[in-house]
């Protein structure tokens, strides 16, 4: 008789697709936008040497160096960068331990403002310059001001429209990723691999800063004040709908808390009885390294069971794809598919292990491997086939 009913119980498969789409869509939008920006704005390859940041502090690549020099320089750069990230993350852990949460939130808002106003303004000016768009400075400054201030509200305030917050986080990811694609080529690739390894170490080792951060957050039942993308919680439309709040801080309405906790706990028990792989309410927020702007990487489950992905992951996936776009669109397709596959694997591991996982390693490794394979082998094949009118 169960067969006769349309859906006797909702299984994880009903909501799995929706939850996956909820994470894959913003990642894809971020990557697509960065590729678009790279294609539009990078018509001359010689301008890439003017970009200097902490990631090129040890060595700035010039065209005349030998490959060995470039590789060595890239290693030095990545070492410096990863060391800076480690220091920053430990600082974050220390501040979180000392409960300076307001300071961290202020810093988060400040960094969002800097990214949106400064980097956003620069990229808009580059676009205006490229297309000779006749906008005047007054209108431009008003628009930029509006955009950045509302972005700071979206990031800073804990209760805000989900869609707008997600949109602004994706925009911040796009802006930072575009700037990271301006790094020299060898440095970019070695840096990506180094960060993937660092992420693996920082999340999984017991002494890793991100693991400490996540454990502290879990033990205190707080959110880590950092830039984290949280997918909209999926509401399954059967009778066991759960009121899942996206945010956990509800100090103001105590009544709601009690009611909601009772409801939510009841739901959880019911789900566990029916032996589904439901998404439990582990509030293991995402874990990872933080840029000086407190971006996090890594993937975890929010208190509401929604999937959380750190903004650093968005950024570095997009950097990989953006750098692939600087070579050719064929490598972009290869790297995009590799990254999405890696993200799917990571999500599956997340549902198996039920704790915070690093989201960078699998995707970045697959992406880098596929980039070099596509560049070295696939391109020759495709070009030969096309020029002989066999395929493509």
């Amino acid at each position: 008789m169960d067969r006769n009913q349309q859906r006797p119980r909702s299984s994880i498969l009903d909501s799995l697709g929706e939850e996956l789409i909820g994470i894959l869509t913003p990642v894809s939008i971020c990557m697509f936008t960065v590729v678009l920006l790279v294609c539009l704005l990078n018509s001359d390859p010689s301008s890439s040497s003017s970009f200097s940041s902490i990631a090129t502090a040890a060595y700035s690549e010039t065209d005349s160096d030998s490959p060995w020099d470039k590789l060595l320089g890239a290693f030095l750069n990545s070492l410096v960068f990863v060391a800076a990230i480690t220091v920053a993350t430990f600082l974050l852990v220390l501040l979180f331990y000392l409960r300076c949460v307001t300071f961290l939130k202020l810093y988060m808002g400040f960094s969002a403002l800097v990214v949106l106003a400064n980097l956003g303004g620069e990229i808009s000016i580059l676009l205006i310059d490229r297309f000779r768009f006749p906008i005047d400075s007054l209108t431009f400054s008003i628009l930029l001001f509006n955009f950045s201030v509302v972005g700071v509200f979206a990031v800073f305030m804990s209760r805000f429209s989900i869609l707008i917050t997600q949109g602004y986080l994706v925009v911040i990811g796009v802006l930072v990723a575009y700037f990271f694609t301006m790094l020299p080529e060898w440095t970019t690739w070695v840096l990506l691999v180094a960060l993937a390894l660092y992420d693996l170490a920082a999340v999984l080792l017991p002494v890793g800063p991100l693991r400490l951060l996540v454990e502290m957050a879990i033990s205190r039942d707080e959110d880590i004040p950092a830039l984290v993308y949280e997918a909209r919680p999926v509401i399954r439309d059967d009778s066991r709908l759960v009121q899942r709040r996206v945010w956990r801080e509800q100090r103001s309405n105590v009544n709601d808390d009690d009611v909601e906790n009772n409801v939510v706990r009841a739901e959880e028990e019911e789900e566990q009885r029916s032996e589904e792989i439901s998404v439990p309410l582990i509030d293991s927020s995402s874990s990872s390294s933080s840029r000086p702007e407190t971006f996090l990487e890594g993937i975890g489950l929010g208190a509401s069971g929604a999937i959380k992905l750190g903004l650093g992951d968005f950024i570095f996936y997009s950097v990989l794809v953006g750098r692939a776009a600087m070579y050719d669109l064929m490598t972009v397709y290869a790297c995009y598919l590799a990254i999405i596959a890696g993200l799917g694997v990571t999500l599956m591991l997340l549902s198996v292990y039920q704790k915070a996982l690093p989201a960078l390693p699998v995707s970045i490794m697959l992406g880098v491997v596929f980039y070099f394979l596509a560049r070295l082998f696939l391109e020759v094949f495709v070009v030969q086939c096309s020029s002989n009118l066999v395929m493509f």
């Binding site: 003017s50 580059l126 005047d136 400075s137 209108t139 509006n146 989900i162 009121q243």
Partner: protein, 143 residues
């Protein structure tokens, strides 16, 4: 079964007479709800919304029409169901009016500037247009 009438004590967000809510448990679960925010049950409750709507409205006066637009977007159900939330509706409608007025003025100026071009403004156009200003101030370089 009392209909959830008061604004304060529970999560039920509306006074819709067709919902027979047991306010403590099923209020979030049954359909027929009207939540004040566009996020529905994931968004704010009604009494918090009033505070938010008022703050967005007041902050929008600092040359932030986009904040007014976000206010209207976020409380879109308030605009659609015109009788449900009188307090919030007050602020949201005023935000919408403010946004429209500001956008009309700003777009009038921007369109005049871009379409009029040099014929209308003379040499001042070159001084005001963004790419020249960026070149002059050195903003177009990176990092």
């Amino acid at each position: 079964m009392e209909a959830s009438r008061s604004d304060e004590s529970n999560l039920s967000p509306n006074r819709d007479q067709r919902s027979n809510l047991n306010p403590a448990h099923n209020s979030m679960i049954s359909s027929g709800q009207v939540w004040p925010t566009i996020d529905g049950p994931l968004g704010l409750t009604e009494e918090a919304s009033v505070d938010y709507a008022r703050r967005f409205y007041k902050f929008g006066f600092a040359l932030l029409p986009w904040l007014w637009a976000v206010n209207c977007f976020y409380f879109w159900p308030v605009l659609r169901h015109s009788r449900a939330f009188p307090q919030i509706r007050n602020y949201v409608v005023r935000s919408a009016i403010g946004f429209s007025v500001f956008t009309a003025l700003l777009s009038a100026w921007a369109l005049t500037f871009s379409i009029g071009g040099e014929e209308l403004f003379g040499p001042v156009w070159d001084k005001l247009v963004m790419y020249n200003v960026a070149d002059r101030l050195g903003l177009a370089g990176l990092a």
